[in-house]
């Protein structure tokens, strides 16, 4: 009976981790589309928040590829904390009443504020998943993922590669401007 319960929760946990990775892909895809379609270049802190989402995604990917583990959930928590730190810092930079903020708002909030909200949600999600996966131990085993999960994994890989290329085009092999207005290697 207990085995059935844990087997059911494991299937649920697998689905939730794949869904979480898809959500991270959604965030990265949104940032990618906004940057290319609306020509809004990300500032260094914006790029660091993207790195925070990528780090969260790696923790989720480990759960998807090797099975859930407290270690993988710890990586997600550390990543979300790091991302929330960068997003919170940018919120505080623009919190003054006369400050217009950086970039265009989306649904009434700037992207760094959305990022902060999402990182906090990622922490709450991880706490909930640690309750659901409380019986899991750190026993990594490479899994055979289904076609849909494989598609999510490769989409994640492609989006991180796209971010690498865009950052290279914007900043080259150096630092990015604090308030970028054009790409270093992409005349548009």
């Amino acid at each position: 009976m207990a085995g059935d319960i844990f087997s059911g929760s494991r299937r649920f946990s697998d689905g939730m981790n794949a869904l979480g990775l898809a959500a991270v892909c959604g965030v990265l895809l949104m940032a990618f589309i906004w940057q290319v379609a609306f020509d809004e270049l990300p500032c260094p802190l914006c790029l660091l928040q993207r790195v925070g989402f990528v780090l969260v995604g790696i923790g989720l990917l480990l759960n998807v590829r090797f099975g859930p583990s407290p270690l993988h959930y710890a990586l997600i928590l550390f990543s979300a904390l790091a991302g929330a730190f960068a997003a919170g810092r940018q919120m505080l930079l623009h919190i003054g009443p006369a400050d217009p903020g950086y970039g265009s708002p989306f649904l009434g909030l700037h992207f760094y504020t959305w990022a902060f909200v999402l990182f906090v949600l990622a922490m709450a999600w991880t706490a909930a998943m640690l309750v659901i996966d409380r019986a899991c131990a750190d026993a990594p085993r490479v899994r055979r993922n289904g076609p849909l999960v494989r598609a999510i994994i490769w989409l994640f890989f492609a989006l991180v590669a796209a971010n690498l290329v865009l950052t290279l085009l914007e900043c080259g092999f150096g630092e990015c401007a604090d308030d970028p207005v054009s790409y270093l290697w992409w005349p548009r």
């Binding site: 660091l48 990528v54 810092r89 990015c176």
Partner: protein, 57 residues
């Protein structure tokens, strides 16, 4: 800005390698590169967070 060299795309590169290792089934290498990415993230945060915030906490 502190005048020290920094490469903004570096954490994306290390993260991409980490993802590649996870896909190929090498968990230890993936976690190692996750740590490297987090360290670069922390260093780049320190690099870009040198200004004083216009608020009192």
């Amino acid at each position: 800005m502190t005048g020290r060299p920094m490469i903004m795309m570096l954490p994306f590169l290390t993260a991409l390698l980490a993802i590649g290792f996870a896909i190929s089934g090498r968990r230890g290498a993936c976690i190692g590169l996750w740590v490297v990415t987090l360290l670069v993230f922390a260093a780049w945060c320190q690099y870009h967070m040198t200004g004083v915030l216009p608020i009192s906490l």
